[in-house]
């Protein structure tokens, strides 16, 4: 590819969409299709493009647990806040986490105002530069994110080891997408007909980890890109699979996702992290759905190095983030939505991140 001909730009051509909508309506045969996406970028793409207003009335878009900030548990936020109290610690974090309220309603933003040293970084690698510039402090990177982000954090830890940077560690609360999909399918109240599978997570994972969707639960899963035409094509494939009675997991984003994923990124992730049970907001504890740092890299594990523990917390009264993330209710069915909980004053994390279900619903669809 050259700068003169960028074939990627052609995917945003709106003229690609009308025929796909026609094909979708035909494949639906008037039957309801409740599809769930599990990626914050899909959430925003669907709302921002206006695609929801074009979809046939029988198609219901559910925005599931695809925003890493949204699924960060109260207890994990409480641990961030505990960490912020420690002396000689610099917290390095993606900006999205700064305003997520913990169990007592305070956030890292409040901690920062009270004097905690918190730096927003674009890349985990930036934390290493921060550590080198502040040799008297311990830089702790807040590790949240799915399989897209975990390899970048793993690569950063290996780089720190290689370069002998000792005043750096990671608080790892990374989460894995496939175990969460399994929990959603086991809950009969969720009632999901098909999954729009996350493009960037799948860049790493490939198709195999999702095979159980079709094999065990007979639910179609389509890996999709982020242009409206990509999403419409995925919906066509879901509806056609259902019409044919042949659910499958397929790749409709071949320009960016290899069926086998990125084996090198997975190797690096596996060298640093091991699967472990993890807490998800709204979904509770899911077996083997998180990533902890392997014992041989304990020096880079903030939990071990600083002897941190997840506290027991209680749920914020009235916040129904959990039901939103499971697709049981639409965001505006939460009693706090648009009243006590707004993007300016969020109660739950789904309203904090710009990729959160509630924030997107509030911004693009407030009725």
């Amino acid at each position: 590819m050259t700068a003169r001909s960028n074939p990627l730009a052609a995917f945003s051509d709106p003229h690609l969409c009308a025929p796909l909508l026609q094909r979708l309506e035909r494949a639906l045969e008037g039957k309801e299709l409740r599809f769930m996406e599990v990626c914050g970028t899909h959430t925003v793409a669907i709302f921002q493009s206006g695609l929801r207003s074009l979809l046939p009335a029988c198609v219901t878009h559910l925005s599931g647990p695809g925003c890493p900030v949204c699924v960060t548990h109260d207890a994990e936020v409480a641990t961030f806040l505990e960490l912020a109290q420690q002396k000689n610690v610099i917290i390095a974090t993606f900006g999205d986490l700064l305003r997520v309220p913990g169990p007592d309603g305070t956030s890292l933003k409040h901690a920062q105002a009270a004097g905690a040293h918190i730096e927003i970084v674009y890349s985990p690698l930036d934390s290493l530069r921060l550590a080198q510039a502040n040799p008297q402090s311990l830089v702790v990177f807040l590790g949240i994110g799915f399989e897209t982000t975990a390899p970048t954090v793993a690569a950063t830890i290996l780089t720190a080891q290689q370069q002998g940077i000792k005043n750096f560690c990671v608080l790892s609360f990374h989460k894995l997408v496939p175990p969460a999909l399994q929990v959603l399918l086991q809950d009969v109240e969720c009632n999901i007909d098909a999954f729009l599978l996350p493009g960037h997570v799948s860049t790493i994972l490939g198709l195999e980890p999702y095979a159980f969707l079709a094999q065990q639960y007979h639910v179609p899963g389509v890996v999709a890109g982020f242009e409206p035409a990509d999403i419409l094509l995925a919906l066509c494939l879901m509806a056609e699979q259902r019409r044919e009675g042949k659910p499958a997991v397929v790749n409709a984003y071949r320009r960016a996702v290899a069926d086998t994923g990125n084996a090198r990124a997975r190797e690096i992730m596996d060298a640093v992290f091991a699967p472990a049970d993890a807490l998800w907001r709204g979904l509770g504890c899911i077996e083997q759905s998180g990533l902890v740092i392997r014992p041989e890299l304990a020096d880079f594990d903030a939990m071990r190095r600083l002897d941190l523990h997840l506290p027991a917390t209680t749920k914020v009264t009235g916040c129904r983030c959990g039901d939103v993330l499971k697709g049981r209710i639409m965001p505006n069915a939460c009693p706090l939505f648009g009243k006590r909980c707004t993007p300016a004053q969020p109660v739950g994390p789904c309203m904090v991140s710009t990729e959160g279900s509630c924030a997107a619903y509030y911004k693009y669809n407030l009725e």
């Binding site: 690609l16 094909r23 994110g145 897209t148 990125n262 084996a263």
Partner: protein, 88 residues
């Protein structure tokens, strides 16, 4: 924070790093190529997330996908004109 963006490699740097241009803009990202199975070359498009290249985009697949989208449009257009084309 899930955001990953396509960018075109403009320069290969030392220590598994590369400079990449975002779209047609003047924004350039310096990103690690450590997670790519093969080192990228200048001119290739990569997906960048949190300072790391995650995947080299396939031009061949991109062109095939575009052709498929356009074929769908062509078939439905023909059908709408009353011709008998087998539905997709």
């Amino acid at each position: 924070m899930c955001l990953a963006i396509p960018a075109q490699i403009t320069e290969i740097l030392e220590n598994n790093m590369a400079k990449a241009r975002v779209g047609e803009s003047d924004t350039y990202l310096t990103s690690s190529t450590m997670l790519l199975p093969e080192p990228p070359t200048v001119g290739q498009y990569v997906i960048v997330h949190a300072g790391f290249c995650l995947h080299t985009l396939s031009e061949e697949e991109a062109q095939e996908s575009l052709k498929m989208f356009r074929d769908i449009a062509a078939v439905l257009e023909t059908e709408n004109q009353g011709c008998t084309v087998k539905p997709l």
